[in-house]
Symmetry: D2
Subunit: 120 residues, 4 copies
Amino acid sequence: MDSKNDLQQMKNLVQQFCEERDWDQFHSPKELAIGISTEAAELLDLFRFKSNEQIAGQFQDPVSRGKIEDELADVLFFILRFSQMNQIDLPAALAAKLAKNNLKYPVESSKGSNKKYNEV
Amino acid sequence: MDSKNDLQQMKNLVQQFCEERDWDQFHSPKELAIGISTEAAELLDLFRFKSNEQIAGQFQDPVSRGKIEDELADVLFFILRFSQMNQIDLPAALAAKLAKNNLKYPVESSKGSNKKYNEV
Amino acid sequence: MDSKNDLQQMKNLVQQFCEERDWDQFHSPKELAIGISTEAAELLDLFRFKSNEQIAGQFQDPVSRGKIEDELADVLFFILRFSQMNQIDLPAALAAKLAKNNLKYPVESSKGSNKKYNEV
Amino acid sequence: MDSKNDLQQMKNLVQQFCEERDWDQFHSPKELAIGISTEAAELLDLFRFKSNEQIAGQFQDPVSRGKIEDELADVLFFILRFSQMNQIDLPAALAAKLAKNNLKYPVESSKGSNKKYNEV
């Protein structure tokens, strides 16, 4: 369960952080998409070449776990900023995409399967 | 303002979607990080080689805007799933990272600047 | 062994392909870096959620193998284009980086290890 | 023009570097694709939020240029390693992909255009 269960509050914090620093000028859609993508790669990089056992250890060690949470927060930061700058309603966007995915991945045929909908 | 201002509700929807399909077995931290990263790249790909004017047009056209929202939702899907599977409190993680960034990017010195904290 | 063992020839083909289409105007360093990054993600996406056995099968199946080779070629395309547009000597850059990595990852201490040089 | 115009020689250097360190065990296709993708993001990260003028300055400054070349070399390292481990003939793969792209992007219709072949 999240401590403060409030998406809008998170968006407000991110917006305030950026506006205090006059960063609107740098935050075009393309730059924010670069931000999401590069931070996502930093998260992935933490697991590069690691076995599942090593990764489990990373989650148990407080310092390593902190790094994982930091990188995840960086991706989230840019997602919230992207949605705020471009007036995207995240819960509505997620619900719409889940509805589409429900058609692409029907429960029966995709149960226990890692196939993509367009894979033979 | 988001339509349903509830992070936990979004996480529950994503969890339900995955559990109905028996996808826990595929959703190790590394695989979910790959999911975040590859979906982030699909979002970025929508803006590749596009001018700011063309991108503004993408946001105005309903079909193109829908594609952008879909890709953003895909990234969010995997972030919510990663946090759910690994018991990460997203608002707490974001607040902790903003506190660190506040030290790395003090308002005075980073105002209107696109320099990274470790740049000369 | 590569069929035509010639890096310069590949760069020339890529340059010709782009110049015939008047694409210099779109190929700034940032856009080409986006190209490298998004194509790299498409390659990675082919292996998402796949087991090692499934991936071995992908390499044995001619159609799947062709998709892998296509995505790898797309990344290489943008690397060659980036180096051509910005006068980067790839063999020299690689040799310089290997020399640095040789210091970061000495044979003795990094033998059989997946630790990064900055990991405790 | 590249200093040592030899793709096979670069592949041999990368192979030797990895085999000396007993790294075959870590270099599955998925892990190498992660390597390509995360290093590509580090290259892109150098240009994040930067204007074209600032990026031109990065190429003129020897230290900044060195960082760009290092990151490009890191991506190339993993591409060469991926092709070596999986017996992919890079010039043949590139030529095959260029032939396909030649059909997707005919010179006449794609001249001076940044549209993707599947864009309306």
